[in-house]
Symmetry: C2
Subunit: 349 residues, 2 copies
Amino acid sequence: MVSECLKNHYFCDMSNINIRALAKELGLSVGTVSKALRDSHEISAGTKKKVQDLARKLNYVPNPYASSLRRRKSKTIAVVLPEVANSFFSLAIDGIEAVAQEKGYHVLIYLTHENLLKEEAILQDFQSGRVDGVLLSVSGQTTGIDHIRDLFAKDMPIVFFDRVCEDVETTKVITDDFESAYKATQFLIEKGCNHIGFLCISPGLSITIKRMQGYKKALSDHQRAVDPSDIIICPDDPDKNYTTIRNALEQEDRFDGIIAAIEKLSITTYLVCKELRLSIPGDVKVVGFSNLSSAAILNPSLTTITQPAFEMGKAAASALFKALKKDSSMPANECIVIPSTLIVRDSTG
Amino acid sequence: MVSECLKNHYFCDMSNINIRALAKELGLSVGTVSKALRDSHEISAGTKKKVQDLARKLNYVPNPYASSLRRRKSKTIAVVLPEVANSFFSLAIDGIEAVAQEKGYHVLIYLTHENLLKEEAILQDFQSGRVDGVLLSVSGQTTGIDHIRDLFAKDMPIVFFDRVCEDVETTKVITDDFESAYKATQFLIEKGCNHIGFLCISPGLSITIKRMQGYKKALSDHQRAVDPSDIIICPDDPDKNYTTIRNALEQEDRFDGIIAAIEKLSITTYLVCKELRLSIPGDVKVVGFSNLSSAAILNPSLTTITQPAFEMGKAAASALFKALKKDSSMPANECIVIPSTLIVRDSTG
């Protein structure tokens, strides 16, 4: 049952015929195919013949890079993320490094600065075997996943954390974004807010979508209208974020409650309120998704959805090392959800 | 004039006979020796002969790694620093990446977590040619410099920023730590403080030493006694830092002014004061070395020595790329000082 693409292998990109494709074609695991190609004693003669026949037929040549990847000699993993000026990511890195240290691995950190082209170039670079595995939290511009699939197809284990691509079959470590945003919105409603704004960046991100859905669901569950203009998408530039939030808070019918879906937007909201002499929580109540170590000493102290950043980093790294332990295995296709916590402080009254 | 080590080359580690050693032996620049070995037309026949004769005599074999380093093909630079949960470092990274992006280079970030063994392992790893150059801000445990010298001896360009090793002959990008601490101390004296404490970590670090010297000099210039017990060295662990600062502020003769030489110690000082119900600035005035984006919205807003983090990152990266532009040149032995700014806010009254 050879698929069209594989049959017409002279007409398709041979670099795509990798162990993964062979395995899929034969209905076998990648590990089995890999072992069969290496003539392992663990594999039955019949299976070996089946694998080796198809490999020959399809002119399969082991990719030297992929082979080097499978040998996994660099003892290095990469963490690819948008930025480090964010306490979630810096804590997640600490969690990742705690596990990597134990395993004797180096950790390289690559920043995409929310730029898809950078992310593509970085992932492309990994094809050289520079690292043994990748922990990825995608950029705000990442909607397509070809660059991730390309690397995955080279048998490079990739584990997502926080900002994930649903369509890639691998381990994804996330927090309960929907439930957290629901809880934050409900809490502001209970505190008497009648006009709750939702501040975010990058509306295409998995986490933004889920937080937005949680916010909307809480509003409608409490018989509140969901007004699209209450969702403020900030441009992710410090000055422009400031102007955007300032414009929103200068409206006559301004928000009396704000959910900042991103840490830095909480800080900007405080700065705008200070400038406009709006009292928090008197005029505006604020909840921020944040792991800021200074949340408790802000003026006023900030009510937060605090994410299990360190634990998420640890879980993602553990999933990756589990895959690396076995030569050819890839991370399980599963979603690990570690819940966040609402920590009530003075910014919500 | 061949030195003993070079003469007895069968008895010494040949891996040490690199271009740098040849250059030193001949009193020539590394660049000249490199070009002579490559038979460059830029070098006179006489010099070429001198270099090639000594290389032959000493059985010099180009190190394939070093040669790969000199070719500088990875188009990647490394940034090695203690942590990213610090706004100075995250802004410095932004400055570095701004320059690297322009030059078409990847940036890898390596964290030492203030651990010398990690720093040594990371620098050792660079000998494989994984990167073309290194920007380094040393760990709090780094007093010896053998691991840095070893890498430098492989013709790997290294530029220091912020936390430097004075004894390594290369470019160092720093801020005016002495003057800034002097200014902060003087400012607290002018604000009426009689008992000023200095909080730091890692007393062996270049920046700690200079800030401490600035603090002491300001005290003595203002006819204040310098009491060693007013210098509080924190253990660089969140819980222990808290206990250390709490102990200091529970003394009967407690500080009425504090200089926090490290960002996170400002935050801990605030948390301790909140717990002990000490008013800032009423009971204790605080100045912190910090680039916190939330400094203005802390309770009270924090007076800071704000470092030119982004500019320092840019300057360090520019110095490195200047060296990389020429195949065999190394960064100039110079110190670039970019001044910090005292930003007065409410924590000093």
